[in-house]
Assembly symmetry: C2
Homo-oligomer: 110 residues x 2
DNA sequence: TATTATACCTAGTAATACTAGGTATGTCAA
DNA sequence: TTGACATACCTAGTATTACTAGGTATAATA
């Protein structure tokens, strides 16, 4: 990551769900999309992403379908209805969390 | 925490430094201050805070002095010059990180 | 033909915060 | 007075998370 990796904790799943909501895609593609949408701030590693996708599918938050394209197998992931609900909840939590951090930082600048 | 604990990763040190910059305080007090300044969002556990303070002191980012008040021993922590520099750097990283998350979330809402 | 890009995967490691305890004193109500 | 709660410190072990560093395989390109 361009930013300290510690900040990623907890938000990776949120980011993955958000990208997949905008457009279903396969893992390799998702990494590039995430990088583009974040102005190169997020450079998620494959070793980070694939386990997340498997976990999300296990929990029924995303589903996948295999595609054969030019001799390559791709697993295209989409967000399920359940996943959309979780995404909305996590977005709320993110807002609450980031607002709280900003508030504490504001105190520290007085 | 009021928010999913995962989000805390990486930002706890930033929050602790920010609180101490505003006002030097001892551990037990810091937890209450952090809770107040965040509108009860951050309810940091002692088992989380004390190791962080020890690590920060080890790295020279804070320093402590013992105080005896009403039969109790308090260790009052202050941010060092080195700590202030690290705090500023971490604030920048936080801004970059949170902006990037918000940008990705905005894409997911289009 | 060798390198790079594509596309998937996992085992082991490091970092972080939490749980769940422990010690000890002061205060306040039953 | 005694038992509960708040104050104030601490640590060992655990869980979660993301990363490192590999592995497999095909297609394109230099």
């Amino acid at each position: 990551m361009a930013v300290d990796k510690g900040y990623m904790s907890g938000s990776s799943q949120l980011l993955v769900l958000s990208v997949l909501k905008e457009k279903p895609c396969y893992g390799y593609e998702l990494i590039k999309t995430l990088k583009n949408q974040s102005n190169n701030v997020f450079d998620m590693q494959e070793g980070t992403l694939y386990p997340i996708l498997h976990k999300l599918e296990n929990e029924g938050l995303v589903c996948s379908s295999k595609q054969e394209v030019a001799g390559r197998t791709r697993k295209v992931y989409s967000v399920t209805d359940k996943g959309l609900k979780v995404l909305e909840k996590e977005k709320e939590e993110w807002k609450e969390f980031s607002s709280a951090v900003n508030q504490v930082l504001a105190f520290g600048s007085m």
